[in-house]
């Protein structure tokens, strides 16, 4: 499926880049051609034996199930949610 302008905008957002509207179509066309070049691997695999490592991949967005645990446990926050820095041991 060709890369469309919407895909370019979504990828640019993930990459923290802003593509001006007037350039999006050109960027999509360029990407489409390079991705077609990359996809030659698929044609190559059909005629030659290559390693096929399998690796699971996480989703692009986070939710409660995939989010990493907080760096500091809740007891290090005050009632307003601000982080309370623990006292340094040995200091008064």
């Amino acid at each position: 499926m060709p890369i469309d302008s919407l895909t370019v905008q979504r990828i640019a957002s993930l990459a923290r880049l802003e593509i001006p509207d007037e350039r999006v179509a050109d960027v999509a066309a360029d990407m489409d051609r390079v991705v077609a070049l990359m996809r030659r691997i698929e044609a190559f695999e059909q005629t030659h034996d290559t390693e096929r490592p399998a690796a699971p991949r996480r989703v692009d967005s986070t939710d409660a199930a995939t989010r990493a645990p907080p760096a500091l446990p809740p007891e290090h926050r005050d009632e307003t949610g601000a982080v309370v820095v623990p006292p340094i041991k040995g200091k008064s």
Partner: protein, 470 residues
């Protein structure tokens, strides 16, 4: 200008390092139209040269590269000097440390005279993707010098310095060396520390030298090589120096020729020029061994998949907050996005987008992992082939230097320039490009790929071929 000859004269007190450096700086200014440098360092270089002359006067040996002027690609850190990777993103950034490889050269008496132009962040094959200015080929300024180590190759070819450092991710030392008629080496992955090199594709990046002679390349690589606690991927095994060719050195050498590369393009003028050189090797007693390596055909797609993904990850650190360019906006996210959009050039943005795309969940065909599979298969195939031959020979590039602007609007055509250099980059094998003839007055390069860790073998073969050419 040969580095070892210069160093010998300075060590013996027959030439002053200050005179050598002055000559190099004058030549750099006279060839400024080539755009080889992003920054010259006359004050630093003259101070270093005076210190080396003082050492010689006191009877102290300054080292194997005493007084040799060198140029360094602008993605290799040098403490207190600009470090921009030819990008607006790093405009005004000054290095806090010196790269290990460069520090080792300085410890042997080398003197840095300037920082060389390049394709931004190492992404390009022509020297045109620089935010500073394009680099021009000294042999024909209407043509590109190759890339991404464009300024390093141009500075050596123009006679400014005998040695320049480049970095090679998919051919960025070898291809410009080929286009400019000089020698370039990508060492085995891990041979030279990457500490202080701005990362592009971390699993492929290597610092490599460009010089006029194979002997200079050998000495510089040996000095830079070795374990470094700042780079855990460096090899522990020492690099051996190549044997100097003797009469009869060629007899018994076995050179592998990938059948598809040499047969399919037999009508190309580059191949014709290189075939003449290979035939001369055979006439002097080398054995030519045809090889079936169809896996090499998958190198370009695998390379661009993997390096784009690594580049997207490596370049995420450039957020406008910690380094260089910042486009201030009210919100933090907007500042990051605007800084990156204004700081990165079009080619770098394209690679970041491709890398982000190939790693994204929506790219359901899982090509990134399949490219890694191709890489593993290719490494095994090359290693097996190299168990039967001393080196594999290919053209360095499919063409000679092309006119400026010819491929800038066609990224796929530009990427095809790397068709022969990407396989050893993916597999980590060492690869040397040596000048091996001319087509219409422009140089062509022959690439020699060696076994993992065997720089000495391909350097020896390179010296043999250079001797045959004289």
């Amino acid at each position: 200008m040969n580095a070892l000859v210069v160093a010998g004269a300075v060590r013996m007190g027959n030439r002053r390092a200050v005179d050598v450096v002055d000559g190099a700086l004058k030549r750099a200014e006279a060839t400024d139209h080539l755009g080889a440098f992003t920054h010259l360092m006359p004050e630093h270089a003259r101070q270093r040269a005076a210190a080396i002359d003082a050492q010689v006067a006191r009877g102290i040996d300054p080292g194997r590269l005493a007084g040799v002027p060198i140029a360094v690609k602008d993605n290799i850190a040098h403490r207190g000097q600009p470090l921009t990777a030819a990008s607006r993103m790093l405009h005004g950034h000054v290095a806090a440390e010196t790269a290990t490889a460069l520090a080792r050269l300085e410890a042997e008496g080398a003197i840095v005279i300037g920082r060389t132009n390049m394709d931004e962040f190492g992404m390009g094959s022509s020297g045109e993707h620089s935010a500073v200015r394009p680099t021009r080929n000294p042999l024909d300024p209407t043509r590109v010098p190759g890339g991404s180590s464009s300024g390093s190759a141009a500075a050596v070819a123009a006679g400014v310095v005998p040695i320049a450092l480049g970095s090679d991710t998919g051919g960025s030392v070898r291809q410009p060396a080929s286009f400019c008629g000089v020698v370039g080496l990508k060492p085995t992955y891990g041979r030279v520390s990457r500490s202080g090199l701005i990362a592009f594709g971390s699993s492929l990046d290597q610092i490599g030298p460009i010089a006029r002679s194979v002997a200079d390349v050998a000495v510089v690589t040996a000095i830079m090589a070795g374990p470094d606690p700042l780079d855990s991927t460096t090899l522990a095994a020492p690099m051996t120096m190549p044997e100097v060719p003797q009469r009869g050195s060629i007899r018994g050498l076995r050179v592998g020729l990938p059948r598809r590369i040499w047969d399919d393009a037999h009508d190309s003028p580059v191949h014709a020029a290189l075939t003449a050189r290979i035939d001369r090797l055979a006439a002097h007693g080398a054995t030519l061994v045809p090889l079936d390596l169809p896996i090499l055909e998958a190198a370009i797609p695998a390379y661009y998949l993997l390096t784009s993904a690594e580049a997207a990850s490596n370049l995420s650190r450039f957020d406008g907050l910690r380094f260089g360019q910042r486009a201030a906006r009210d919100a933090l996210n907007d500042t990051v996005t605007a800084s990156r959009s204004e700081g990165f050039g079009a080619e770098v943005q394209r690679r970041i987008l491709l890398g982000t795309f190939s790693l994204s969940e929506g790219f359901s065909s899982d090509l990134f992992h399949r490219a890694n599979g191709v890489r593993t298969t290719m490494r095994a195939a090359l290693e097996e082939a190299l168990s039967d031959v001393d080196a594999i020979a290919t053209p360095t590039a499919p063409t000679t230097a092309f006119p400026l602007g010819e491929k800038t609007r066609d990224p796929v055509a530009m990427y095809q320039s790397d068709i022969y250099t990407t396989p050893p980059s993916l597999t980590g094998h060492p690869a040397l490009s040596i000048p091996a003839g001319r087509v219409d007055g422009l140089p062509v390069g022959l690439q020699l790929i060696g076994s993992h860790g065997d720089e000495a073998g391909i350097l020896h073969l390179g010296m043999v071929i250079a001797a045959l050419s004289q």
